[in-house]
């Protein structure tokens, strides 16, 4: 029983290959059914986005599983042969497969590290797998864990915090000048795409008053409708400059349309309240000399791009933190997987039964008073017989079912029925109510859980 992932992403395959393999949402269910029909494939989840196509599966044998999944991928598109796919694919198993899933979910493997979309896509893929019963105990646990790991990465690192687009960098800068964007006014000069985007971001971050001016008064009125703002005639906008806290400038003009003196005057009229000017136009539309005016803060496209580049670097640094966090979480999952293996479960079950038997015998012996050695052996024999008869069926079932499709389910069920993963809650010997309970289910320390390795050696 192994976890594998076979797939390709923007890092390994060009878009021409990715688009051929991508499975549209409508056909996802059918594809999953096809995947699970392959012999040896027990569980499957298919993640298909524009940047990656990946199959997570639980298989009997790793090598055979790799081959089956690769076949499956090649089958999704007629013009692709399995061999053609090989150079673009990656194959992982065990901890590396789990780590990969966690990294994908936490957006460490994304084109824009830290973007949030992938988590939603993973959730959707999981929903489809659940609906088609393609995922089972192992993948369910794994994907749920991946989602919680992604959330942990998001809250514990600053990976998603920093602006990585030019238009958003403008918002970030505005927040370093003004503490409350809600009471600020934006003046949008020109209808350049980037400036419009920045205006949108500013509005989303609380700005309520927007003034718009464009050379063509028609588009100013149009934009004013869109942003719920006020159009200002182009030849008068310099006079409105003092009204604006944030000026977003991006026109096609080949000369400066906001000159140093005008900004100087605006600052004076504003009684030295800071004014924040962003010039996203090339060639520039705001006189660079503005940067020497006190309380006026001018940033051009290069400044914004520099900020974005710095933030990208910062995100990469934060990614390092996230990687360490993921390593820890992979260990947690590996522990859990180990508990699902049938041999340690059988051993734990025997040990648990043995413990119960011992404790009960001791208790009864002291109550029965003096017994002859024969009587003693008889009582012990009786206890052993009951325990063994009871266990026998379960053990046989576990052994035979372990290799079936629902194997891990059986193991998980056995562990829960017999409380094999519980921490010790009370001392069995000193618990006065213990003898009343028909089967004491809790209260026994489980050496299996604390140190699986030594327990195995002792019993085998």
């Amino acid at each position: 029983m192994d976890i594998i992932v076979v797939g390709l992403s923007h890092k390994t395959a060009p878009v021409e290959v990715r688009e051929k393999l991508a499975v549209p949402d409508s056909r996802l269910g059918e594809a999953l059914c096809r995947l699970c029909a392959y012999p040896g494939v027990k569980e499957g989840v298919l993640l298909s986005t524009c940047n990656r196509v990946e199959v997570y599966a639980v298989v009997d044998q790793v090598e055979a599983g790799y081959a089956r999944v690769q076949e499956f991928l090649a089958d999704t598109h007629l013009s692709l042969s399995s061999e053609q796919l090989t150079p673009h694919l990656y194959w992982y198993t065990g901890d590396r497969a789990i780590g990969h899933l966690f990294r994908v979910a936490a957006s460490l493997d994304s084109m824009v590290v830290g973007e949030a979309q992938i988590l939603g896509q993973l959730k959707d893929a999981y929903e489809v797998a659940l609906a088609h019963k393609a995922s089972g105990v192992i993948l369910n646990k794994l994907v749920k864990k991946a989602i919680s790991v992604a959330k942990r990465v998001r809250t514990e690192t600053r990976i998603a915090e920093m602006a990585v687009s030019v238009s958003y960098a403008a918002v970030e800068l505005a927040k370093k000048i003004f503490s409350n964007l809600g009471e600020k006014t934006v003046l949008l000069v020109g209808a350049g795409e980037m400036a419009k985007l920045a205006a949108q971001h500013l509005i989303r971050n609380g700005v309520r008053r927007v003034m718009i001016t464009t050379r063509d008064s028609h588009s100013a009125i149009e934009l004013a409708k869109r942003f719920n703002g006020v159009p200002v005639p182009f030849d008068e906008f310099q006079r409105e400059l003092s009204e604006a806290d944030i000026v977003l400038c991006s026109t096609g003009a080949a000369h400066y349309i906001i000159r140093s003196e005008e900004v100087q005057r605006a600052v004076r009229q504003r009684m030295n309240r800071p004014i924040f000017l962003i010039d996203i136009s090339v060639p520039r539309n705001i006189d660079p000399a503005v940067k020497d005016i006190d309380n006026a803060f001018l940033f051009d496209i290069d400044d914004l791009e520099m900020r974005v580049e710095q933030n990208r670097e910062e995100r990469r640094r934060e990614a390092g933190k996230a990687e360490r966090l993921i390593e820890q979480e992979v260990d947690v999952i590996l522990q859990w997987l180990k508990s699902l293996e049938v041999t340690p479960t059988i051993l734990a079950l025997r040990r648990r039964a043995e413990e119960i038997k011992h404790a009960e015998l001791e208790k009864s012996m002291s109550r029965l008073g003096h017994l002859s050695p024969e009587e003693r052996t008889a009582v012990e024999g009786l206890a052993s017989a009951i325990v063994n008869k009871l266990l026998h069926g379960s053990l046989v079932t576990l052994k035979t079912e372990a290799d079936s499709a629902g194997g891990s389910l059986f193991v998980e069920a056995a562990r829960r029925f017999f409380n094999l993963d519980d921490a010790p809650a009370a001392d069995p010997v000193t618990d006065p109510d213990r003898s009343v309970k028909p089967v004491p289910v809790a209260g026994y320390s489980d050496p299996e859980q604390e140190s699986p390795e030594p327990a195995q050696q002792k019993d085998s």
Binding site: L173, K176, I177, M271, R273, P274, D294, M306, R307
Partner: protein, 267 residues
């Protein structure tokens, strides 16, 4: 007892300052949590020191210069904790706590004799308390001014470093500057009035132009002009930052004036 608490406070403020300064340069947020925790404990210890000193001396403990400095430091930390609680601007601690530590150290460096006051001078504590609280306002304005100039410089030169990410927005700092002066100024005014009344009781004259009184009046006039300038002709932002930094220099000169005049009862 009070000395023990005072030593503990100094130790805690020292550790807090170290953590706050480290926080200034590192990207770790955990550092600020430790720094604030240590500062809060230090503040409690400081409060205990003031209270025990009060019971030991049998009167309100701002009658000597070292006590006044200790009270100043205490109030400064209190203001920081209040602002921190409301606005969560940890980096303020990196600037305020060193100042609090310095004033506490200077208090400790001065002789510790508990002065015995003539009964008539017992009302002097009110003058000291008010003047010190006013000074706390100016100290916070000073800190806000320094932070403003740093952030202004970083934005202007487009140096988006760790400090840039930690410093609060410019208009917050300008607002903090304004509020601190608005609070500090009336307190200083009352401090000067009560001081003059005490002086009248003690020496029979309201004003005798000693260095302390002279500088206190100069400081008062200066902050009055700063406040008026803000309201009437827009002396805010960068200019206000510069002015409050200069003003605080005046305050420090007043303190030196007090020391030169001889420590002991202030009147």
């Amino acid at each position: 007892m009070s000395v023990m608490f005072l030593m503990a406070t100094m130790g805690l403020y020292l550790v807090g300052t170290a953590f706050f300064l480290a926080y200034l340069l590192r990207r770790s947020e955990a550092l600020s949590k430790v720094a604030i925790g240590v500062t809060a404990i230090g503040f409690l210890s400081h409060t205990a020191a003031l209270l025990t000193r009060m019971t030991e001396a049998g009167h309100v403990p701002f009658t000597s210069f070292d006590e006044a400095m200790s009270f100043f430091s205490w109030a400064l930390v209190l203001v920081f904790l209040v602002v921190e609680l409301r606005h969560r601007i940890h980096v303020l601690g990196s600037f305020i706590l060193p100042l609090a530590l310095l004033s506490l150290l200077s208090a400790a460096a001065l002789p510790k004799a508990v002065p015995t006051l003539e009964p008539v001078l017992r009302t002097v504590w009110l003058h000291v308390a008010l003047s010190m609280l006013g000074t706390v306002g100016f100290a916070v304005a000073f800190v806000a001014g320094i932070m403003y100039l740093i952030q202004d410089g970083l934005l202007k030169s487009k140096r988006f470093n760790v400090l840039y990410t930690k410093l609060p927005p410019l208009d917050f700092l300008d607002h903090l500057n304004q509020q601190s002066i608005l609070l500090g100024f009336p307190l200083l005014t009352l401090g000067i009035i009560t001081g003059a009344i005490s002086a009248e009781f003690a020496r029979g004259s309201y004003l005798n132009w000693n260095p302390e009184q002279t500088w206190a009046l100069v400081t008062w006039v200066f902050y009055f002009i700063v406040l008026m300038g803000r309201i009437t002709v827009g002396w805010r932002a960068k200019r206000a930052a510069y002015l409050t930094i200069i003003g605080f220099a005046g305050v420090i000169l007043t303190f030196i004036g007090v020391v030169v005049k001889g420590h002991g009862p202030i009147a």
